[in-house]
Subunit: 350 residues, 2 copies
């Protein structure tokens, strides 16, 4: 079984590795490059090697969002250049979102675009970054400020890699799965709203990918409908950035930050879209069962608001939000006042 | 009259400016940016201003191929970020190939792609860079090593700007026009093979664009047929790079370098594709009437050969060439020996 996205395919487990080996064998790629970060170099590369029957050049970058920047791109492009990469070379990205984002971007721009394959190793990357063709890097402190839309040739999704994650990382990805239910499929949300352990999650990952893929197919370049995937992200992204700037060592994971964003934006949904207050409370409870509560003081909330105003999804300095009308249905481009945002933090805290 | 390319349109003179003003008026662009280099800032911006009825943010970069690099991109992206550019901003590139290449690239990558408009001011850029959607920058001494394929929303072509060029620059562009004839239309080649002054060239520019546009439409991503546009470029690019590295102040212009490349590759065509020797001599004479002869010693030829091997169009270290079968007809991916290349330099010198 596989999932077809707009211009690409996701293969699962065994079938994925066999397809990869066959593809390389019959292709005319001149050189193969595998991109990992210091983490996946240790924990994922051995398993990767045990599954593939070809040689490759290894590129190792430093792990972490703080290295998803233009300097790391320069290192990758230099490595490709110095190791004879040409237009018919292939790049395989083995890692979490940082690796697939920066790997997809550097490949898409090298010699005006070489092929790349993604092998996500984190749950977040499996259910989020592996569908939708978003590649990119941070620039000048702004997340994903540079990038292109480009899908990999194909993606391999192997639940084995979930074993390499710690509990926080696993939960971070789980948060995006809950989001898919909230914005587009009520039934799915209730199926997974009681936390499911990684041993039993694989079937639900597929469903999550199907939901996301369906959304992206309707609007690849994010002119409208696709924006619903940003539910929880307007405030969530800003919260993530705030904690990263404040103290990189104690930063929140992406899914942790957007879980807070989803609680805040559920509250805004009750104020702007007639979203049911009981459902908003249910969402708050669902996330508080999984994630520890974070304290926000007045100063931090103001700084977060300033970051929101710089967010790329906010055209012309309006505060634009994706909000829920009910569980499983969402709308985008809702204009929200600063005052309501402040109130949403009180709601989260209560 | 306008020319439709694959996903874009080229408007001429008066009609172009009027279309630009109307487009801006009815668009919902949040911010307008105009990119110039230090040259076009002085010589072209005043005329641009006299034709447009909107305000804009001006970005000035240093002129010259040596600044078509990632550092200049970083400056542009910082300027956009610091001046509130968002996904609905527009960038207008006013300049020669360096400005449209780097402007198209930085716009295509900023927030995963914002709209851009090209207004070429050199003849080279009008007949070459303004069709085909190639954007890019040099990296690690390799020309156009980074970039994407993306066409502007539209292009304005105004022959007024030809007045701002010196004679060398004008002739550099003329060289590409001759190339279009050589690779695809015999009649056109003979129409312009006796050098035409800029006052009378405007009709021939349109024809040149039509030829290029027809070629690109068949093969936007350069999988095959489009490669014929690289006639003269395998050696020409390398010659250009060689002189740039040797002494940037005495570098050759692009068209000067590829005019030599075309003479060399016409000779190779007689050896590999049965190209008529009399026609090869005619081509040599055509170019020697326009461009001064350049001296090459043994050492320089060897260095040029090394650069050819690094050229992005050469897959897996073969020496691949576009060659002529007759004037107006060309084929691509012809494998040529190093020895023949050395002989072609003797032919040029004779």
């Amino acid at each position: 079984m596989n999932i077809k996205t707009l211009n690409s395919v996701i293969y699962f487990g065994e079938e994925g590795w066999s397809f990869l080996n066959k593809s390389i064998l019959k292709s005319n790629y001149t050189k193969l490059f595998v991109l990992v970060d210091s983490n996946t170099n240790n924990h994922c590369l051995p398993y990767f090697k045990s599954n593939v029957d070809f040689d490759f050049n290894l590129i190792v970058i430093k792990e972490g969002e703080k290295n998803k920047n233009i300097d790391t791109c320069n290192e990758i492009w230099k490595f490709l250049t110095n190791n004879g990469a040409d237009r018919k070379s292939l790049m395989i990205n083995l890692g979490g979102g940082v690796v697939t984002d920066i790997g997809g971007f550097t490949a898409s721009v090298f010699k005006r675009g070489i092929d790349f394959i993604n092998i996500p190793t984190s749950l977040l990357c499996m259910v989020d970054a592996s569908v939708g063709g978003k590649t990119g890097i941070d620039f000048n402190l702004i997340k994903n400020q540079l990038g292109v839309f480009k899908e990999p040739v194909f993606t391999i999704l192997d639940a084995f890699f979930l074993k390499t994650l710690n509990e926080r990382e696993y939960k971070s990805g789980y948060s995006e799965m809950l989001k898919h239910g909230l914005i587009a499929e009520e039934k799915y949300f209730f199926k997974i709203s009681s936390f499911i352990k990684r041993e039993h999650v694989s079937h639900h990952i597929k469903k999550s990918l199907e939901i996301k893929s369906k959304i992206v197919k309707k609007d690849m370049n994010e002119f409208g409908f696709r924006k619903i995937l940003n539910f929880g992200h307007t405030l969530g992204h800003a919260i993530e950035t705030y904690f990263l700037l404040k103290d990189p060592k104690n930063a929140l994971l992406h899914g942790e930050a957007i879980s807070i964003g989803m609680v805040l934006e559920s509250f805004l949904s009750t104020k702007y879209c007639g979203f049911n207050e009981t459902d908003a409370l249910l969402i708050k409870k669902t996330f508080s069962n999984i994630f520890p509560k974070i304290e926000f003081d007045k100063k931090s909330i103001n700084e977060i608001l300033n970051i929101v105003k710089h967010d790329k999804k906010n055209l012309d300095n309006n505060l634009n939000f994706v909000l829920l009308t009910k569980i499983g249905n969402s709308i985008w481009d809702v204009n929200v006042s600063e005052k309501s945002v402040l109130k949403s933090f009180e709601y989260y805290d209560s």
